[in-house]
């Protein structure tokens, strides 16, 4: 069974720290265990989402790159 992504955060074009800030605002309203997808173009977001996942406990379940767009899938703690 694959879990459904319930929300997508489009942070393309945004600079640090807005991809994280937007994601935090969105994930607050998502029930625990659900998945949130983030799209970003800031190259720093690769390290930042890994660090944010560590501090918040929201698991980074998937990460990929496609033509300069970084995609992160996070599971709400």
């Amino acid at each position: 069974m694959t879990l459904q992504i319930v929300q997508t955060v489009d942070a393309r074009g945004l600079s640090c720290p807005m991809p994280i800030v937007r994601t935090a605002q969105v994930i607050k309203a998502v029930p625990s265990g659900q998945l949130v997808e983030v799209l970003a173009t800031d190259p720093g977001s690769v390290k930042d989402f890994a660090a944010w996942s560590r501090t918040t406990g929201n698991e980074l379940v998937e990460q990929s790159t496609d033509g300069g767009v970084y995609r992160f899938v996070l599971r709400r703690k």
């Binding site: 945004l14 640090c16 720290p17 800030v21 605002q25 918040t56 406990g57």
Partner: protein, 198 residues
């Protein structure tokens, strides 16, 4: 050839007193993780926002909003020049006497009127910084301040600076917390996991 058998009981016998207690209360299950029962304390960051310069207030806004976004409780103690960016937009000259009025005449208050600590060049520096910001889609101090307050960052104005600069509570943005003093700053800094003076 004989094989030596170990004649030890599998479980060490309890002493009579422990046995008696165990009979009455039942043997407690050993907890697999001693930390499992204790709730994890949320981490805390305190920033002292002392400067009113664009290149110092900006990182304060970035760090405080990111801390709150990371589930870290964040408090910002706002003192000295750091208070001027928190004056409401519609206020231009504040204070009661001419010396206090001079302060805000020389340095326009509000989050949109910050100067650079270096290369200010009579406003040329901040203007160039603003156009670079737009070019690279970086959030402005105002946007970050809005995000920070929405995420629950607590901004605490310094009562002493307010008195000295002639700032009243109603001169400052509504999102700010109750004014406090140095002892509050020390208390929150010593209780926090990290504190910064910017």
């Amino acid at each position: 050839m004989t094989t030596a058998t170990l004649d030890r009981p599998a479980v060490a016998p309890m002493d009579p007193l422990a046995q008696a207690i165990a009979d009455v209360e039942g043997v407690p299950e050993p907890s697999p993780d001693p930390l499992a029962d204790t709730p994890m304390k949320t981490k805390e960051l305190v920033i002292v926002n002392w400067s009113g310069d664009l290149d110092k207030v900006w990182p304060v806004m970035i760090l405080s909003s990111t801390a709150a976004a990371s589930g870290v409780t964040c408090k910002v103690f706002v003192t000295f020049w750091g208070l001027l960016p928190f004056v409401k937009d519609e206020k231009r000259i504040v204070g009661d006497n001419w010396m206090q009025k001079m302060l805000t005449l020389m340095q326009r208050p509000g989050i949109d009127h910050l100067k650079l600590s270096k290369m200010n060049f009579f406003g040329m520096g901040p203007w160039m910084m603003g156009s670079l910001r737009k070019q690279y889609n970086v959030a402005s101090p105002r946007e970050l301040l809005e995000a920070a307050t929405a995420l629950g960052v607590e901004f605490i104005p310094c009562q002493m600076t307010m008195d000295m600069f002639g700032l009243k509570r109603e001169d400052l943005i509504d999102e700010m917390g109750e004014p406090a003093g140095a002892a509050t700053a020390i208390a929150i800094m010593t209780e926090a996991d990290a504190s910064l003076f910017i």
